[in-house]
């Protein structure tokens, strides 16, 4: 088998209409994280938000392959930043290894999230364009969750 690696860096910036502390809970609290990062076919198996702690989730569409996310938190500065290293596997085959830096800061309209994914895509099994789209969908879900909460409080 010919081995290959494609390296790519993805940046996504999002402004949220909430405090940095509120946004931080959406990342650090396992139930809240699952509420936006998981769905009917994707479940959280384990999450310990601490340096060295793991985040393990996965799922599959009917008849499709099983996708597994296996993450380890490398760095946490409360309400400011955290870094997670993770691999993605498709039916057990590693398709990528990456680190994501999540940066949170106050903003005139609430707070801003700067998401940076630095990835190594392995043996042609995954590509950064799909990954960027998938990450964007997760952040859309997060935005909807926070908007629904704000509307309910209004």
């Amino acid at each position: 088998m010919i081995r290959s690696v494609t390296h790519a860096t993805l940046h996504i910036d999002r402004v949220f209409d909430c405090t940095p502390a509120r946004l931080w809970r959406a990342f650090s609290d396992p139930a809240q994280k699952a509420a936006w990062a998981c769905h009917e076919t994707w479940t959280m198996k384990e999450m310990t938000f601490a340096v060295g702690g793991r985040e393990i989730s996965g799922g599959s569409d009917p008849g499709g392959p099983y996708w597994a996310f296996d993450g380890t938190y490398l760095d946490i500065v409360p309400e400011q930043r955290f870094v997670v290293a993770y691999t993605m596997r498709r039916d057990g085959v590693p398709v990528s290894a990456s680190i994501i830096t999540w940066l949170v800061a106050p903003h005139a309209r609430g707070c801003v999230l700067r998401f940076t994914d630095q990835g190594a895509y392995l043996d042609g099994h995954a590509d950064p364009v799909e990954r960027e789209a998938g990450s964007g969908v997760g952040l859309d879900n997060l935005e909807q969750l926070l908007r629904a909460e704000r509307d309910a409080a209004a």
Binding site: T9, T72, V83, Q118
Partner: protein, 172 residues
């Protein structure tokens, strides 16, 4: 917002040894204590783990020659294909303060009878952006130290009037 600099650098080096030998020297605990941790020149306070396998971790604490500052390195193997590829994430601290989190991809490719290493680091460097150049230079030095390890050369420190020169030499 805390300052974070994201950067990628890529270094290549050709070794006059087969991929299996280079891969072994890169990952073997005893070999690493020589070329990576530079025991003898640096002070290695602790070094644990380092078994070869996905999910395995290596944790270490060390100080540079003549200095008291403690540096730590915690690495996690994320992809291991023996004699071909190693991907690991690592986090470093200096004097208790986190300075970086990185993803390193090391490709071992046959080149003639030897091996070409392609080392790619994708890093998040905290606070001081000057770290990027320093990390690249430090990694280049490590790849040189790996060459010395493979050639049986040893690190020597040669005291001069005003400084110490570090070099490698072949034992007689």
């Amino acid at each position: 917002m805390t300052a974070v600099t994201h950067a990628t650098f890529c270094l290549e080096r050709v070794y006059d040894a087969a991929p299996a030998r280079v891969f072994h020297a890169f990952t073997d605990k005893e070999a690493r204590s020589r070329w990576f941790f530079q025991v003898g020149a640096w002070t290695l306070h602790r070094h644990s783990g380092g078994a070869l396998g996905v999910g395995e971790a290596e944790s270490s604490a060390f100080s540079p020659p003549g200095a008291d500052v403690v540096i730590t390195n915690d690495s996690l193997y994320m992809d291991v294909i023996e004699n071909q590829r190693l991907v690991f994430a690592y986090q470093m601290t200096v004097a208790g303060k986190p300075i970086s989190a990185s993803l390193a991809t090391v490709e071992f490719r046959p080149q003639g009878a030897g091996t070409r290493i392609i080392f790619t680091e994708q890093g998040a460097y905290f606070d001081d952006p000057g770290q990027v150049a320093g990390r690249e230079e430090g990694t280049r030095e490590l790849l040189e130290a790996l060459a010395a390890e493979l050639e049986g050369r040893v690190r020597v420190r040669i005291p001069q009037a005003d400084r110490t020169i570090e070099s490698y030499e072949t034992p007689a």
